[in-house]
């Protein structure tokens, strides 16, 4: 069976290569690893090597030709295969099987690195960005004293030990919030009497994107739940909770607002969700492999459809912002998202996501969790239908919302209680200002 030899991406940026010289001629035997040709890339002259052994049946392109990556340049056949097979070029390529060994370096790599999360001093956004595509396997954290878990450079550790500084009380400014020597310059020295008074480390108002969090160590039962569920259903064991919300009062109040700048239902849901999250910190959390990170701040990602996909701009501190502010911000973010003009820090660092397909007449749906977030809320359309209302059949505007939960973080009852709070708030909109 003849095997196609293709132009490989010999450098990560290579899009085409010039075949400088053939090192093997038709009819010559080739072994795996033999240099078939010299190829000039955008950077250098490199070698194209055989990935299968056999006999070089023919060159598909002449020396000197410039060939795009992945295009066929030659065909290798089995030792017994007659060179005459090359006489039927029409048939050969069809049967030819692209040489399938290791992919050429760089070929399947993303063309550009994803934007690095900005190394904010608080370390908040330094964690996985929302895109979260590269879910690298977690490094097993060695068992040990809690001090081992502290992120600090070796030099910082040594200085801290010598000067009696409590590293846990120091805000790190290194990669991922790591404490580096510079951070110790102003650090308070531990008094011999005991640990320093834990000063409330979080100063309001928080800088973007978040000022703090509480890391909850995994209990044995949570660990077991996490392992068992992940085994059963996949890396993110998801379950879904749906509830129907009566939107009559919200709709009425919305209509009462002035038309200019009137918030959309989605704006109201974002705000309400943020308020409900305040009461349910377990849902405003990230899965961090060896712990659960409950964010103190609430940054709601909203899924926005764009031409070739979707993106999740983040409304930060959505619980603290007025409905009007959220409405304006959502509008701005959505329109810039569609123009592809968002800065990376505008679509990373969310703590919870909301996805709304109501405007597309979807009654209800389930959304896929945006890792490492604990949950995502899928919002359907508001539909008027006859329902039982205080003992009477009435036509009322109703909304179905579905919460997708990462079971490693959120148990059924936890998710249900959050949804219940959300439902109560939407049905009693005064709760927003309560």
């Amino acid at each position: 069976m003849p095997t196609k030899v293709v132009m490989e991406a010999l450098s990560p940026t290579m899009e085409e290569g010039r075949l400088v010289e053939w090192k093997k001629q038709a009819g010559e035997p080739v072994a795996v690893g033999d240099v078939l040709a010299e190829v000039e890339t955008d950077k250098a002259v490199m070698e194209l090597v055989a990935r299968v052994g056999g006999v070089l049946l023919r060159h598909t392109v002449e020396a000197g030709a410039t060939v795009p990556v992945s295009a066929e340049v030659a065909v290798i056949g089995e030792p017994g295969e007659a060179v005459s097979a090359a006489k039927q070029p029409a048939a050969a390529p069809k049967a030819a099987e692209e040489q399938a060994t290791q992919p050429a370096p760089g070929r399947n790599q993303p063309v550009s690195m994803p934007p690095a999360p900005s190394p904010d001093a608080d370390g908040a956004s330094a964690a996985t960005p929302v895109s979260g595509a590269a879910a690298a396997p977690p490094a097993p954290s060695p068992p040990g004293t809690p001090a081992d878990r502290l992120r600090a450079s070796p030099l910082a550790r040594r200085i801290a030990a010598e000067r009696g500084i409590d590293l846990a009380a120091v805000q790190g400014s290194g990669p991922e919030g790591r404490v580096i020597a510079r951070d110790l310059e102003a650090a308070p020295v531990r008094t011999p009497a005991g640990p320093t008074v834990a000063e409330p480390a979080r100063q309001p108002p928080a800088p973007l994107p978040s000022s703090g969090f509480t890391d909850v160590p995994l209990t044995q039962i949570r660990k077991t739940i996490a392992q068992r569920l992940a085994q059963s259903i996949g890396p993110i064991p998801t379950f879904y909770l749906t509830t129907e919300v009566d939107m009559e009062r919200t709709a009425e109040l919305r209509t009462a607002l002035p038309e200019d700048g009137r918030p959309s239902f989605n704006d109201i849901i974002i705000k309400t969700t943020a308020m409900a999250l305040r009461q349910h910190p377990m849902v405003n959390a990230w899965w961090q492999d060896d712990r659960i990170r409950q964010w103190h701040d609430i940054h709601v990602s909203m899924a926005v459809a764009i031409d070739d996909g979707l993106i999740t701009p983040v409304i930060r501190h959505a619980d603290q912002k007025s409905l009007r502010a959220i409405s304006a911000e959502a509008k701005d973010l959505a329109s810039r998202a569609r123009e592809r003009k968002l800065a990376p820090d505008e679509y990373t660092g969310g703590t919870f996501s909301v996805s709304n397909l109501g405007m597309l007449d979807i009654d209800e749906f389930t959304a896929v969790i945006n890792p490492p977030e604990a949950a995502i809320l899928a919002v359907g359309r508001i539909v008027a239908k006859p329902v039982d209302h205080e003992g009477q059949v009435q036509v009322r505007r109703r909304l179905r919302v579905t919460l997708s939960c990462d079971h490693r973080i959120v148990d059924g009852a936890t998710g249900a209680m959050f949804l219940k709070t959300l439902k109560q708030m939407l049905e009693n909109p005064l709760a927003l200002v309560w």
Partner: protein, 464 residues
């Protein structure tokens, strides 16, 4: 007339890297370049000199070591012209590489001289382009002579690296004024290709910014190869004619004369700040003539105008400029990049043996009053170095006595330019000498000398 988010003036290693990072972050970007993309580095600096140095290295290896290695050669003929043309090819390939990177990232390349206008506008040719977010000045530097003493670069008898890189043949004799990285590298090249080289340095030693022991080791190697050196020597007068130059030097109170067919000026570079419209745009310069920048943001005195690379101040190194380019791109895109730590910028001289360092020299550390301990390990005690017959040089680590922090690291020897990065990574991440030792080093490698030097600083060296 077009509008971009960012316009970078200068397509050298600072400018083009800045542009790529901008593009990665979703900013529409243009680069203004009047000559070839890649700048001095790619076209008349780092890259072609390294190509020539490689020829020089092979020549020296064949001449001085081949016989021992069991390689018998006839008479070895050196042809600078051929080596030069190869270096040009390498440069061209690299420049084309930069071009294709611009294409790949959809960066607009504006050919011509860029002139800054008020309000983040840049004029190129007859057209005025607008930057909505930032203009980045990355115009680099150029060679310079010392006209005050008669050493104006006439491109014939008195030349700079710009001309040296295009010579068809080497001169019978050459005097090199300035023994920094550029001077020492050309001394190495011309010596290998048969010129009688005289290296002249006004400061007390060659590679005056490196650790004293590194300078001494290189001087010893140069002396062995008959490169004449005058240190602490000031050129007081130069008489330049068509086919030779006579330099009068003053060293240690004595006067001496050096005669050479050509003089290569390698004493500093001038920054390109002229005809950029800087004063008109409100961009101020420092007393030393660099563009004045906020050290944290690299923003100039004109809001929204940034400056990176040589023109923003020393050290004038391509990799320092590139990092500044990335930094500014991330700032402009609204990120908060970690500050650049200029204490961790490595410096490399690619002569043979190579000299590489990061951080402070022992002398500077002591002058600053730091309490340091020094660890050393010579390559003569390293197995891998012996197998290659390249036992010149050493690894030297200057560490803080109390905490073990790496204050400075200095490597002289084969592949020093590559080896130094273990210590750059360590220093940048605040690993101390103990972490360096903790990492298991493969045997036999040159890198073992680094672990041994770390151990030596702790008083625990194994192999000496």
């Amino acid at each position: 007339m077009a509008t971009f988010d960012v316009i970078v003036i200068g397509g050298g290693p600072a400018g083009y890297v800045c542009a790529i990072r901008c593009a990665q972050l979703g900013l529409s970007t243009a680069v203004v370049e009047r000559e070839k993309l890649g700048g001095v580095c790619v076209n008349i600096g780092c890259i072609p000199t390294k190509a020539l140095l490689h020829s020089a290295y092979i020549l020296n290896t064949i001449r001085h070591g081949a016989k021992d290695l069991g390689i018998e050669t006839g008479e070895v003929k050196a042809d600078y012209g051929v080596a030069m043309r190869r270096s040009r090819k390498v440069s061209e390939q690299n420049s084309r590489g930069v071009e294709s990177l611009m294409k790949k990232h959809k960066i607009t390349v504006l050919k011509g001289d860029g002139t800054l206008q008020k309000g983040k506008q840049v004029q190129v040719g007859g057209e005025t382009h607008t930057a909505s977010k930032a203009v980045v000045i990355a115009t680099g530097s150029r060679t310079k002579g010392i006209p005050q003493i008669g050493l104006e670069i006439d491109k014939a008898t008195v030349i700079s690296s710009d001309e040296a890189l295009f010579l068809e043949r080497t001169p019978a004799s050459i005097a090199i004024v300035g023994a920094g990285a550029v001077g020492c590298e050309f001394a190495d090249i011309f010596n290998a290709f048969g010129s009688q080289v005289t290296l002249i340095e006004v400061l007390p030693r060659i590679l005056p910014l490196e650790d004293g022991e590194a300078s001494d080791a290189l001087a010893k190697a140069f002396r062995k190869r008959n490169i004449a050196m005058h240190v602490g020597a000031k050129v007081t007068k130069a008489t330049v004619s068509k086919d030779k130059a006579v330099l009068e030097l003053e060293a240690a109170g004595k006067t001496l004369t050096v005669e050479a067919e050509k003089v290569l000026m390698a004493a500093g570079r001038a920054v390109n700040t002229e005809r950029l419209g800087l004063p008109e745009a409100g961009v101020q310069l420092t007393e030393r003539g660099f563009v004045k920048v906020d050290p944290a943001t690299l923003e100039t005195s004109a809001p929204g105008v940034y400056c990176i690379g040589d023109v923003a101040g020393p050290p004038m190194l391509a990799h320092k400029g590139s990092r500044e380019g990335v930094h500014v791109a991330e700032l402009v895109a609204g990120h908060r990049p970690r500050p650049i730590d200029y204490r961790n910028v490595p410096s490399v001289t690619y002569c043979h043996p190579e000299v590489a360092s990061v951080g402070l020299s022992e002398q500077d550390a002591k002058a600053k009053g730091l309490d340091v301990k020094v660890g050393r390990f010579p390559f003569s005690a390293n197995g891998r170095a012996r197998t290659a017959g390249e036992t010149d040089g050493f690894v030297k680590i200057v560490r803080d006595t109390k905490y073990g922090e790496i204050i400075g690291a200095h490597i002289v020897g084969s592949h020093a330019s590559e080896l130094i990065h273990e210590l750059v990574v360590a220093k940048t991440n605040e690993y101390t000498v103990e972490e360096v030792d903790l990492a298991i080093h493969a045997h036999p490698t040159l890198s073992e000398a680094i672990a041994e030097a770390a151990l030596d600083s702790l008083g625990r060296v194994i192999h000496i």
